[in-house]
Symmetry: C2
Subunit: 339 residues, 2 copies
DNA sequence: AATTTCCGTGAAATCGATTGCACAATCGAT
DNA sequence: ATCGATTGTGCAATCGATTTCACGGAAATT
């Protein structure tokens, strides 16, 4: 900057003012400075600026892992939104390990990061205290926390369950099964409640024995299918609370001789890439990940500019994606197995 | 830091020396300082340090997109390695858009980033000049460039092609087809060369008409299968140069009545998650992504510490993953269609 | 003509660390 | 007792920006 100043025959203060247009500068000198900036191809050093301004234009994104498409989607869309607003992303995956979480957050704080988008915080970790102390804007995404004072962007989980039930009921299904995610996580209980309630009021039945608790991974879908089948196979529709488990269940059902969707209809949730790469293509519900991330980034940008301070909670609805794994009840040749 | 200094009754210089153990400090005062640091829970501000040291402990990772699993793997493994060395990751996806690429790199440079891991640079972009000018360590990953003076970590692409051919030859296949990636990218030509050469020396044949140029996406696998089938279906084994295309081709082949692997064996490359979630599970080759990223991070860390200055090129081999889509030739009931 | 207002500019402080240099204290050797 | 070497510490400069404050001169007001 000194070079530019010398070249334009002004002080560094003036150069700074031209760059940031913070305070009006005489037209003539402004042009002179701009020309000098061009000449030496000067780009302000962001570190020095950050030190002075206490703002880095960096957003941290913390996810439990980078394997599941859910989380890579978060990163993808967050990156998109951040880039559009002139922010860069610092990412970290924590394996839900409180220690890693803490170390990472600590680092971000020391880097004076502008905000953090956090997915699947371990509730019991001391991380939240860490954040409270430093007053860094934080947005929880995908999973709400017990604490209502922290901004969050989440799916309407109850609505998702209701939507799954609604679609299947409309196809004439009456006997249901469900493969859930871990039920100690509240969003999964909400999803189940929406599913169950809608089935009830729609005149269908969801026997408690036909609820299998999985872990969101492919394998547990297969285990779920086995469990349900062995319990007594008198259901015609299965909803798995994410696509990985839905695909796992579907493959197992097919392997055990059931036709999809002839004998059994199956639905997932997430609309991951795999869901349309398999045969038959999976009927599922898309989570509005792009919008979620956009909102999250927005919240942080605004908060870091102190434009708002209210802890808002944004709830977004899923979108039904009908493909080939759901069909009218009784389309296949299978007889319901009694017990 | 001033608070700590006052509390411990020393100067800030001494506090700094305790923190960095750069210069010996008297045992007694060191303990006093450490206690003071504990008391005020002091953590050095990394921005100030970066400004002074001209080193940020940040590594940039630039990928063309965050959709394909290949690139999310890069990020995942790079994050792992970086975290282990005390670095954080700044990521950006460019859509291979030279403008976005430039903007992003520019940003990283202005942030005084320690190094950049770059995947699939657009060769014609002005980015490399940009980087040359600032002397930031850079490592190309996954795809080599014409310029030999830039460090790179790449797959042994010729070897991968050879490995695919070898496996299929060992199963007795003699008539081959190949679905390639874009052939203007050198790595794909190398893969094809390895495939072709090994088939030749192994006594098989790869008719030029049975080479279809895809674009690495799912759809082009299906198109490739159609093309090959319509050209004349006298091949018993297909290698697609990545898993997405392999799965696309496999689904189309199945849809057109061929049994996999009975009639036609099929192989991919990458070992993406989808590859074992489909039925039948895909035989493929795993790229050593973890090792690639580890090497890349290592190169950057070393370069940024000026421990080495030589532009090394690291070549790593793939690993064969045999699953269910390859079988001995002639296992199925299909008769080869002559023409 | 004197006073006030306004605008543009520069000098210097600031952000929070690291480090070169100078100096004081300790020690051992002559 | 004197000297040189060694060790530990503090002062002040530095990194590269932003911003407060003060000041000079032009314009506006009386």
């Amino acid at each position: 900057m000194k070079d530019v100043a010398r070249l334009a025959n002004v002080s560094v203060s003036t150069v700074s003012r031209v760059i940031n247009s913070s305070i009006p500068v005489d037209e003539a000198t402004r042009l002179r400075v701009e020309k000098a900036i061009q000449q030496v191809n000067f780009k302000p050093n962001l570190i020095a600026r950050s030190l002075r301004m206490k703002s880095t234009n960096l957003i941290g994104v913390v996810v439990p892992e980078l394997q599941h498409e859910t989380f890579t989607s978060f990163i993808k869309f967050a990156e998109e939104s951040a880039e559009a607003r002139g922010y860069n992303l610092v990412i970290g995956s924590t394996n839900t390990n409180p220690e890693t979480e803490e170390r990472f957050i600590e680092n971000l704080i020391r880097r004076n990061i502008d905000g953090i988008i956090f997915s699947r915080v371990s509730d019991h970790s001391r991380v939240l205290k860490l954040i409270d102390r430093t007053k860094i804007p934080i947005v929880i995404i995908d999973r709400s926390l017990a604490r209502e004072d922290i901004p969050a962007v989440v799916l309407d989980n109850y609505g998702a369950g209701a939507m799954a039930a609604g679609h299947l009921l409309s196809l004439g299904h009456l006997s249901f099964a469900c493969i859930t995610g871990p039920l100690d996580i509240s969003i999964n209980r909400e999803r189940l409640a929406g599913f169950r309630d809608t089935i009830m009021t729609g005149g269908g039945r969801l026997d408690e024995r036909y609820i299998f608790e999985g872990n969101f991974k492919y394998d547990s879908g297969g285990r779920g299918a086995d469990f349900l089948l062995d319990t007594g196979a008198d259901f015609t529709a299965v909803w798995a609370q994410n696509d990985y488990m839905a695909i796992g269940a579907m493959n197992r059902l097919a392997a055990r001789g059931f036709s999809i969707p002839g004998d059994i209809s199956i639905m997932g949730l997430d609309n991951i890439e795999h869901s349309w790469m398999i045969m038959p293509a999976l009927t599922t519900m898309a989570q509005p990940f792009r919008q979620m991330c956009e909102s999250a980034v927005d919240l942080i940008v605004k908060a870091s500019r102190k434009e708002t301070t209210d802890a808002s909670r944004i709830v977004l609805g899923p979108e039904l994606v009908i493909r080939e794994t759901t069909a009218p009840a009784g389309a296949g040749s299978r007889k319901l197995v009694g017990h």
